[in-house]
Symmetry: C2
Subunit: 930 residues, 2 copies
Amino acid sequence: MSSRWIYGFDALDAASERCGDDWDTVRGLLGGKGANLADMTRLEIPVPPGFTITSEACNAFLDSGEILPEGLTNELTMALRQVEQMTGKIFGDPANPLLLSCRSGAKFSMPGMMDTVLNIGLNDEVADGIADIFGDRHFALDSYRRLIQMFSTVVMGIPDEPFEDTLRGFREKREVENDGDLPIEDLESIVERFLKVFRNHTGRDFPSDPMEQLTMAVEAVFRSWNGRRAYAYRHAAGIDHDLGTAVNVQTMVFGNLGPDSATGVAVSRNATTGEPKIDGDFLMNAQGEDVVAGIRQTSTIEDLGRLMPEQHSELLRYAQILERHYTDMQDIEFTIESGKMWLLQTRDGKRTAQAAVRIAVDLVSDGIITKDEALMRVSPEQVEFFLHPQFDSDAKKIAVSRGRRLTQGLNVSPGAAVGVAAFDADLAEKWATERNDAVILVRPETKPDDVHGMLASAGVLTSSGGRTSHAALVARQFGKPAVVGAREVDLDLEARTMTVGPHVVKEGDWISIDGTTGEVFLDRIETSLPEIDDPWLMGVLSWADDVRDLDVWTNADYPADAEKAAKFGANGIGLCRTEHMFFDAARLPIVQGMIMASTETERLEALAELLPLQRSDFAGLFRAMDDKRVIIRLLDPPLHEFLPDRHDLIRKSTDLKIQLMNASNLQEVNALVREIEETEHILSRVESLHESNPMLGLRGVRLALLMPEIPEMQIRAIFEAALIVLDEGLTPRVGIMIPLASEASELLPMRDIMDRVAEEVLGDRADELDYEFGSMIETPRAAVTAGSLAESAEFFSFGTNDLTQMTFGISRDDAEKAFLLDYLNLGVLATNPFNTLDRLGVGTLIRSATEAGRATRPGIHVGICGEHGGDPASIALCDEIGLDYVSCSPLRVPVARLAAAQAVLNRPNRATEHLEPHRDLAEGVVADAR
Amino acid sequence: MSSRWIYGFDALDAASERCGDDWDTVRGLLGGKGANLADMTRLEIPVPPGFTITSEACNAFLDSGEILPEGLTNELTMALRQVEQMTGKIFGDPANPLLLSCRSGAKFSMPGMMDTVLNIGLNDEVADGIADIFGDRHFALDSYRRLIQMFSTVVMGIPDEPFEDTLRGFREKREVENDGDLPIEDLESIVERFLKVFRNHTGRDFPSDPMEQLTMAVEAVFRSWNGRRAYAYRHAAGIDHDLGTAVNVQTMVFGNLGPDSATGVAVSRNATTGEPKIDGDFLMNAQGEDVVAGIRQTSTIEDLGRLMPEQHSELLRYAQILERHYTDMQDIEFTIESGKMWLLQTRDGKRTAQAAVRIAVDLVSDGIITKDEALMRVSPEQVEFFLHPQFDSDAKKIAVSRGRRLTQGLNVSPGAAVGVAAFDADLAEKWATERNDAVILVRPETKPDDVHGMLASAGVLTSSGGRTSHAALVARQFGKPAVVGAREVDLDLEARTMTVGPHVVKEGDWISIDGTTGEVFLDRIETSLPEIDDPWLMGVLSWADDVRDLDVWTNADYPADAEKAAKFGANGIGLCRTEHMFFDAARLPIVQGMIMASTETERLEALAELLPLQRSDFAGLFRAMDDKRVIIRLLDPPLHEFLPDRHDLIRKSTDLKIQLMNASNLQEVNALVREIEETEHILSRVESLHESNPMLGLRGVRLALLMPEIPEMQIRAIFEAALIVLDEGLTPRVGIMIPLASEASELLPMRDIMDRVAEEVLGDRADELDYEFGSMIETPRAAVTAGSLAESAEFFSFGTNDLTQMTFGISRDDAEKAFLLDYLNLGVLATNPFNTLDRLGVGTLIRSATEAGRATRPGIHVGICGEHGGDPASIALCDEIGLDYVSCSPLRVPVARLAAAQAVLNRPNRATEHLEPHRDLAEGVVADAR
C-alpha cells in the first residue's frame, strides 16, 4: 500500500491505518485540509465528495523533475470514477457535468501562499450543458470565464492584468460595479477574449479535455510548493521545506444558482471578542470568493436565520458538532446550493488576543477542554497584546473635539497604533527597517504579497474588506491593530494621498488608528498603558499560577514600576538597578561631585547627600512590595557613564578655544578661560576613567572594592529604609545583590560591609528584618565557579544580558550594527541570543552553575533577571533547568506567568491522563486557508 | 611528650619519632636550621653543642600574648645544663664561661629576615674572665660590646645609630678603618658608652644575668616572626604566617682567637659556574660577620689549603659527606677556633642559573642523583636566565674603545643589565614601578632592607662586598645581573653622585653592567639575544624532552622567529598571527586601501596585491619548520586597527581647519581643503568601524564571514606557498586556524572556502600536502560548545589571553591600570590570570572543552597558544588536563621544555621507586640564612 497516492474523503480509516493511527502522520500525508475534509466526512457533515492526492505524491513529483509518479494517473481515474458515482454526475459530460476544485493543502497552514483552481471540467460544450441544465447561461459563462482566468494565471503563469483589464473594460462600458452585473453577451465576449489571451500567451489552445485540465492543475499545485512566496513563508514560519503539499480535488458546489443559493463563512464564536455566539458573513446567490473579496456588502449570520431558517439551524448544529469534535472555535466555509447546505472546510478560527483568552475560558466552562488545555490555547504574545498601549482617553477626547477624527471603520484587530502612513507594503517595510519609523500601512485591501509590509508596520488600515478579509485575518493573527473597510478613505496611489472628506493625508504624514474602536485619527495621539482587568485573562493567569513552578518577579527601579508590576502579579523584585536613581536630573550633579571629588572628605560628603535620597527610593520599593523579596543590586556601571561624553567635552573645549581666539574683551577672555579650565578638568577625569572595553572594565563589584564607601552608603540606605518601613507595620524583605563578581573573594569584603552596616543600623532589631546577600552571575567565570560563590551568596541571579555578551564575546552595543543581523540573515545564528537564551552555550553555563550553587548551599534561591526573563522560550529553558524564578519588566509579568505555566505543560514527561481523549486529534487541527 | 619544647642537637631521633619519622614535620618543628644541625650532629660532623626551641613554643608564646609556655623555662635550664656538660663550660662562670648564640630558624628559609644575638652570657665579670683565660682583653671587650650592641638593637629595638656613631667617632679619632684596630682603652670606653646608651633608651641597666639575657633573646626571636620585614617576606614568598619559627641556641665558637683561628664560608661546588670544586672565602682571626660584611678582603679556600692544610682537608671531607648526604651542593659556614674545625651550618647553596644546570648534570654523573631529580633541580626561571639578553659584543667593543668602560667588579650574577642609576632601594622601586624605568640599584653594599629595591631593579652594583655578600646572594637567587665589590666606585649619597675616576654619574643617568664579566659602563649598551650552546643546559633539556608528554611549539609570525624557535627546540608553530604581516610599513597602505575600498573591485585589487606578499611570508615559515606543523591563524583584529587613531584624526582635522582660517592664499586654501576632505573621509570610515567594546566586536571569523574575500586570499596564499615549498623538496605541514569562533556554523563556511581553494590551487596534488582545518577556542561559548566545533575542526588551540578576558569579563588593555593590580594587592586574586592560567575558571573550561572535543573527534589535536604557553604553572595545568602541546614565544621554548618535564615529574601518581632512598631528606634541606 506504500504507493497509494490518493485517498477519498471517505477513506480516513485506510489513511489512518497506513499512518499507524497517528493523526500527525495523517496530516503530513493528506495535509491539514485533506485530513479535516475526511474527518468531517466521517462525522457525517455534508462535505462535497472528493479525494486527496498525498504530499508523498507531491514530493515524488518534485524529486523526479516534475514527472507524476507511477500509478498516480490510474488512481486519479479510479478516484474520479468514485466521485462520479457518489454525485451521480460525469466529469466532462455536458448532459450531467461534474465540476471540480483543486486546492493545495499542506501539513501546516500557509494562508494564501499556494494555489487553487476552481470549476475544472468546464469547456465550451460543458458550459452549454450547464446553461441548459440550470437554465442559467449567465452562471455557466461566468463559471467558465473564471476557470479560464484561474487556470491561465495559476497553472500557466500568465499575468492577471489582461484578464482584469478586459473585465474592467466591460464594467466601464456597462457602467456596473460587479462582473456579475454584466449581461450574457458580454460574458460570451469575455470568454472568447480570455481564450485568445490564453492562446497568445501559451501558443496553444485552452485545454478542453477535463482530464487534462485536472492533471495540469494538480501539477501546478505541486509546483506551487516551491514557489517563491511559499518558500519565503515557510522560511519565516520555520516550516520544513521537505514536507510537500497534498492536493484536494473536490466536487464544486455553487452558491450562485439563484435565490435559494448562498455562500459564506462562519465562526462558531466571535473572533474579535470571543463571545460564545456564531458570527460570520454570507452572500445570497454568490460564489465564495465574493465574500472574501469584500466587494459586495455581506449579510450577517443572524440575517441567514431570517432568510433561510432551516439552513441556519443546520449550520448552528454543524458548528457545534465541529467545535466539540475539534475542541476549539471553528472557522467554517459553507455553501448553500439550491437549498442544500454544504460545508467546504473547517479549521480552528483565527481570533484576537481578547477572543483567544475568552474562548479558552468558555471552552473550559463548556466542558470541552481542561484548564491545562486552555492554558495552551493562549499564546504569550496574546497575553502581551493585552498590555499593548491604548490611546489615552483624554488625548482622544481632545482629538475628537478638535476635529482630528477622520472616520470609523471595522474594529477587526484591537489596540492603538500610531505611525506615518505608507501606501504600499515595500515602502512600509523600508521605512520601518531603514528609518526605524513607526508606520501605518494604508491599502485599499491587502493580499498575501503585502504581508511583509503588514509585519513591519505598527498597524493596518484598509478602505475596503470585511471582518474576514485578508487584512483582518492577518492583522489578528499577528496582533497588529487594524481598521478595515473604512469606506470613506479615498486612497490615490498615483498622487500618494489619502483623502477623507476635507482632510488630505500625504504619504509620510502621521496618523493614529484605534483597532479597538475602528477609529482613524489625524496626527499622533498619545498612548498609555492599560490596566489588565479583563476577567477572562485574570482567570487564565490564575490557572497559570496554579500550574507553574517558576516564580515571576519583576525588574523595577522605581516605586511606581513596582506597584504596576505587583498589580500584574509580580511576586517580588528580582532586580532594582540603583544606578537608574543616580541618573535623576536632580541627583546627577551630586553623583558627578562624588566622582570628581579630589579628597576622600569631598567624596564622603557627596555620598552623604545621596544617602537620604536612596533611602526614600528604597522605602518606596519596600512599601510597593510588602512581604515580597526586593533584590537591590548595588551600583553597577562604570563611573564615566555619569559624566559627560568624552567627545562632547573635546568638541566643547575646541569650540571654546576657537571662541577664545576671537574674544574681543578681557571679561570675555576671562570667562572663556575659566570655562575651558573647567571643561578640561572634567575631561581629564573622563579620560582617566576611559577604557577601551568598558564592558570588561572597572564597574560592578570591582568599583565597589576600590571605593567601598559607595556600597557602604547604599547598604546603609537600604537598611535605614527597611527600618522605616518596618516601623510602618509592613514587612520589607531585603536582598542585597553584588554585580559582576567572578571570584568568591570579591564577595567576602562586600558581605563584611553588609554585616557591619546591618549591625550598626539594625542593632538589636536585626532579627526583625529578613535580609539576604546574593550575587549576580554575569561572567562566565562566575558561572564556572558558582560553587564557591555560593559559600557567601544566599541567592544567585543570572544577568543573562552580560552573561550572553561575555560567553559569545559579543558586545551588544555594537554587534547588532556590526554583524549580528548579518549573522541572522546568513543563518549563522538561528535566533538572536540577546532575545532568546542560547541553550547550548549560555544555557549550559546556567545549568551547571545552578547545580554547583545548590551543591554548596542546598536550596539556594536562583533566578534570572535581564530581558530574557520575559521571553517565553527563555522562560521554558529556565523551567527546564529548574530555576526558582524569572524576573522581567513589569509589562512582561503576565506574559511570563503564562509562559511559565506552558513550560510546565510542555515538559516531555508531564502526565497527560486527565486530558480529554480527543485531545490529540484536536491539536492536529490546523487547516489551510482558502 | 607533646609539651616538650626543646630538643638538643643530639636528640634528632626523639624529635623524629615524635614527628612520625616525617622529615617535613621535623623541619616544621625544629626549623630548617635546627633540623640540619641535629642531622649534622648525627653525621658526626663537629657542630658546636646546642639545642633547638621548637616553633610550637614560638606559636604558644605569640598566641598567649607573649608569655613563654609552661615548662619551657625549666626545659631551658635542663638543656643548658647538658650543653655545659658537653662543653665543660659554665654559663655565666667568669672562670670558665659558656657563651651562646641565639638564632631564628623557621621551616622555610627567610634569609636575613629574622634576628640573631651572639655572645650571650657576657657581662662585666665574664668579660674579665675571658680576657684572663684567653689572655686577650681586646677580644673579650670586642665580644662584649658586640653583645651589648646586638642585644640593644635586636632585643630592645634601640636604633643602631648611637652605637655606630660611637664606633665611627673612635675610628676617626684613631684614623683606623676597622673597629678591630681600635686599642683596648677605646673598647673599654665604648663598652661604657654602649651600656649608657642602653640605660638611656630603656631606663634600666643592661641585664648582667646571663639567663635573663638568654630568655630575652629567645623572646625577641619569637617576636621577630611577626616583624614587619618577616611578614612582608612571607607574603611575597607565599609562606604560611602560622608556621612560627624555632630558635637555635648554640655554643659560641670563635674564629678570632688568634693566628690559629679563622672563620669562613664554603660552597662544595662553584656557585657561579657550577665547576665541581670547593670554593669560598675565609678570614684568619675573625668573626663570621666580618666575612659577610665584606669589609676585610677575604682569602680563598685555596689559600686555606696553604695556611691550614689539615683543617682544609677536613673541610673538604665534610663538604663531600654533606653533599652526598643532602644530594646537593652545600653552602657551609665554618669556624676554626684555635685549630679546631667547627661547622656552624650547612644548607643547599644558592647558585647562578648556569651553576644550577651544571651541578644538576654533574650530580647525575657523580651518581648522587637521578636524571629525574636533576630535572627538578633546575627551575624554569633558571633556564629562562640563559636567554636573558647579553651585551652585543660589537657594541661593547665600541664602548670600550670610546672609554665608556668605568671599572670592573666581581661578576657574581651573570647577565647584562641596562638602566638608570638609583642610589637607594626606595627610589629604585619607585622609578621602576611608577615610571616603568629600567633601573640599576647602586649601593655601597646591600642589606635585607634593600631587597624590594633589588627586586624592582634590572641589575645591582655595589662598591664593596664579596662573592658571598648579601648583594651577591640575593642577586643570584633572583637571577638579577649583579656586579659587587667595584671598589673604584665612589658613591656620594649626599650629592647623589657616583664617581669613578674622572667620570661622574648623576642619579638617573644611564649605566650598563655586565654580571657575566663584572664590567661597568657609562650609558646604554645594546643587548642581543644569546644562543643556547651551554652543553649542560642542552643535556638537561634533552632529558626533559625524554620525560615530557606535552609537545612544545612556538608562536612565530616571521621566518626569522621560526628559525630561532626551531633552534631552541620548538616542534612546530602553534600560532602565526597573519595580521602582524599586515602592519609592515610597506604593506599597511595596501591594507588601508583594502579597508577604504569603496567598491568590491577596489577591495579585490588590494587583496590581490597582498597575496604574493603573504605567500612569500608563509613560504618562509614552511621552510623554517620543515616537516613540522605550521598553524596559520587567519586575520583576527578589527579593521580599525589598521587605520589611524580616531583621536589623532579628529585632532588633525581640527588643526587643519584652524590653519584654513588663517590661510593666506588660494593655493594654500585648496591644499588644506583637499587634506581636510581626505582626513574626514578616513575619519568617517574609522567612525563607522568604531565600536564601544572592540574586544567583543567585529573581528576574527565575524569579519571573515562578512568579507569572505579576505580569508580566501589568505588561504590561497597559504596553499600557493605550500606548493612552492613542496617543489623545493621540503615537507610543509599546514594548519589553517579560524579565530574567535563561538558557534559551529561559523566554521562551516570557512571550511568550505578552504576546501574549494585547496581544490583550485592544489588540484591533483592535494594528496601530497598535509593540511588541517582548526579553530581557536577563545570565547567561553566556544569552550562550552567545543563538541560541536570539533565536527569541522581537526584541531583546537585555546587562545588563553582572550579566553581569560571573556571568562573573567576583564579587558586586559584596561584592567591592569584600572583595578587588577589593586586586586592583587588586596589579595582578591592570588595571581594575575593573564600571567598564570586561572585553574578554577578558565582551566575548567579548557578541561571540559578538551573532553568534549575528543568525544566528538577522538584524537583531535589540542593545545594552547597565547602567553600562558610559556608559563610553568600554566604548562603544568596543561599537562594535567592532557593537552597535546603548548605554543609559546621562541624565547620561552626552552623554559617550556623543562616545565613540561617537571609537570610530568610532579604528577601525584608518578612512580618514584627508581629514586635514591635519601631523596626525601635531601628535599627537606632548605636552611635559614645567617
